[in-house]
């Protein structure tokens, strides 16, 4: 369930006659999705009981203080008025307004937090892909021998491991006990990458099971296909077969899966950030929900929706490029 989503209707450009038409449909579709997300978020977060003013002023705030705070925040307006205000702000400024808690522009807040989260996603993705490729290759070329069995067990065992639990163990072992890595937070520059090593491993842990499984199954399918059997019979070196033909063919479905994982990760690093004390988008989302900081929640939702739409687009383009059928035609 953690990898709930899937790439936007992945029919891809290959089906369409005109790539312009495809582009237009995709763009329109993406736009509608983003607008739907924004409307849903706006009303969802206002259903939840809780008052931003009370979160800012605390339990001892006087009614007068609360009232003036409500007015300053525009929370005394009707829901409809608030929604109109929100829409006009969104379309004229491309922003969801200023944070209730800090007064800063949401865009600035997100821009400050985004690099660390993006780096975390990038590092963990590279890690997950490299390891998944290694393991899947090892497993599929040694089918039903011990490396294969070992590797097949891996996703079975790790699938049920909660991310925070893995993170906790890694912190205790490598951070507190061995002191190889910082236990949390994120430094600047190279320090940032260094301090993100443990979190990246944690995230990669949650990504790998499905990737390894999928890639292994696909590679076996390809390896056992007539096409490869013919190549083998033609005495083509197995390394060439593996890298030039097998991987390329097997990568396609896994790429889709990877896109799904990536979309999930964009808004889903929350738990890892919480466990490792990283000040990224996820922890900003969590504290904003706790504080009922509506503009920031909406801003993050916007950022996530846009990112997911872009990712699915990229996945489609890359898979189109990878797909041997499209290659054959052009």
């Amino acid at each position: 369930m953690m990898n709930e989503g899937q790439v936007l209707n992945a029919s891809g450009p290959k089906k369409r006659g005109s790539s312009y038409r495809w582009l237009f449909i995709t763009a329109a579709r993406s736009f509608i999705v983003i607008v739907c997300v924004m409307i849903a978020v706006f009303f969802l977060i206002r259903i939840v009981p809780g008052d931003p003013a009370k979160m800012i002023l605390g339990e001892y705030a006087t009614p007068e203080a609360l009232e003036s705070m409500h007015h300053a925040l525009g929370l005394d307006l009707s829901l409809g008025e608030q929604f109109l205000r929100f829409l006009s702000n969104l379309f004229t400024q491309g922003d969801t307004g200023n944070s209730i808690v800090s007064g800063n522009s949401t865009r600035v807040l997100i821009a400050e937090r985004a690099p660390v989260t993006l780096l975390l996603i990038a590092m963990s993705s590279v890690l997950a892909i490299v390891i998944a490729l290694l393991l899947a290759t090892l497993a599929s070329t040694n089918k039903n021998k011990w490396p294969d069995h070992l590797i097949r067990i891996f996703p079975t065992v790790t699938m049920g491991m909660p991310v925070f639990w893995v993170g906790l163990l890694l912190i205790l072992l490598f951070g507190v006990r061995l002191r190889w890595f910082p236990v949390g937070g994120a430094g600047e520059g190279w320090g940032m990458a260094y301090s993100l090593i443990l979190p990246s491993i944690t995230v990669a842990f949650s990504q790998m099971p499905t990737l390894v499984r999928s890639l292994r199954a696909q590679m076996l399918d390809v390896l056992e296909s007539d096409f490869i059997v013919t190549l083998k019979a033609a005495q083509i070196p197995s390394r060439v077969i593996l890298f030039k033909h097998v991987l390329r063919n097997a990568a396609l479905p896994t790429l889709m899966l990877f896109g799904v994982n990536l979309s999930y990760l964009i808004g889903g690093t929350l738990v890892v950030e919480q466990v490792f004390g990283i000040k990224g988008i996820g922890s900003l989302l969590f504290s904003s929900i706790s504080n009922r900081d509506f503009p920031v929640i909406q801003g993050i939702a916007l950022y996530c929706a846009v990112a997911v739409v872009i990712i699915s687009l990229l996945v489609e383009i890359v898979s189109w490029w990878l797909d041997p059928r499209t290659k054959g035609k052009s």
Binding site: M1, M2, N3, E4, G5, Q6, L8, N9, R29, I32, V33, C36, V37, A40, V41, L44, I45, I47, V48, P49, G50, P155, T156, V157, M159, G160, M161, P162, V163, F164, W165, L168, L172, T210, R213, S214, A217, Q218, D221, P253, M256, L257, V260, S263, I266, G267, G268, L270, V271, G282, L285, F286, I289, I297, I300, A301, C304, A305, V308, V309
Partner: protein, 288 residues
Amino acid sequence: MKTISAHNLTGPSRKSQGTLRRILKNPTLLGGIIMLAILVLLAILIPVISPYDPSAQDLRAFLQPPSAEHWLGTDQLGRDLFTRLIYAARTDLTIMVLAEIIPFCTGVFLGMLAGYYGKWIDNIISLVTDTFVAFPFYLIVIIVAFASGAGQRGIFITFMLVGWIVFARVTRGVTVSLRQQEWVASAQTLGLSGIRIMFRHILPNVLPQAVVVLMTDMVGLLVAIVTLGYLGIGIAPPTPDWGTMISDGQSFITTAWWLSAMPGLAVVYTGIALSLVGDGLADLWRRR
């Protein structure tokens, strides 16, 4: 979970007399079923096995290490950890199963609908799916949990909202490929209604793959329930639950590590069992 591509599965054979033998011949499936059976049996029999009440406190004997009397020691309120661990299995497994039923049914139905009829139905359903995918997952989860208060209700609502998507996508894919086969066209010319074709002919072919996905999805759901417990918005006390037990025990990780390690391992154990069942079923159906 998306590893089994559609064309590999054509569904279970209608002849069922060989089913048991086939299960016995399928060690992965058998192993998974045995592991699950042990857990379920323990959960059912725990009142007989354990002399303790899961919520009976002993404020004078808290945080005891494992002993013959308390197999896994006691927690912060002096309750027997082993007893709570198994009672937690009751809670978590029940929620896991119940929370999957409705999303599974709606997901399969909507997926068939979208795959069979295509056109605008497909467009609307996939627009909704896309919107959910573009939504930060935790935003929905946390908001629903906050709105409904901590506890089972929040988990059920969340999964009714988002759980169906996986099933809808899988079923839609299979349905689309089935629809292009000749027998569907001939059934249509015979004048069978779309609903009848869907339920009588497409459903049996779609179900196997959906069930395989269900197994892995349950693992994910279990992990999600536990994660909510960790974030402090899961199942409310005093109901024993693995997630809350892990986060309660976290404070004592260096002094009484078993408090949070054991519930964690219980989650991993259940995960392994469900994955084995899923793998086994996929094997079984792939070989016809």
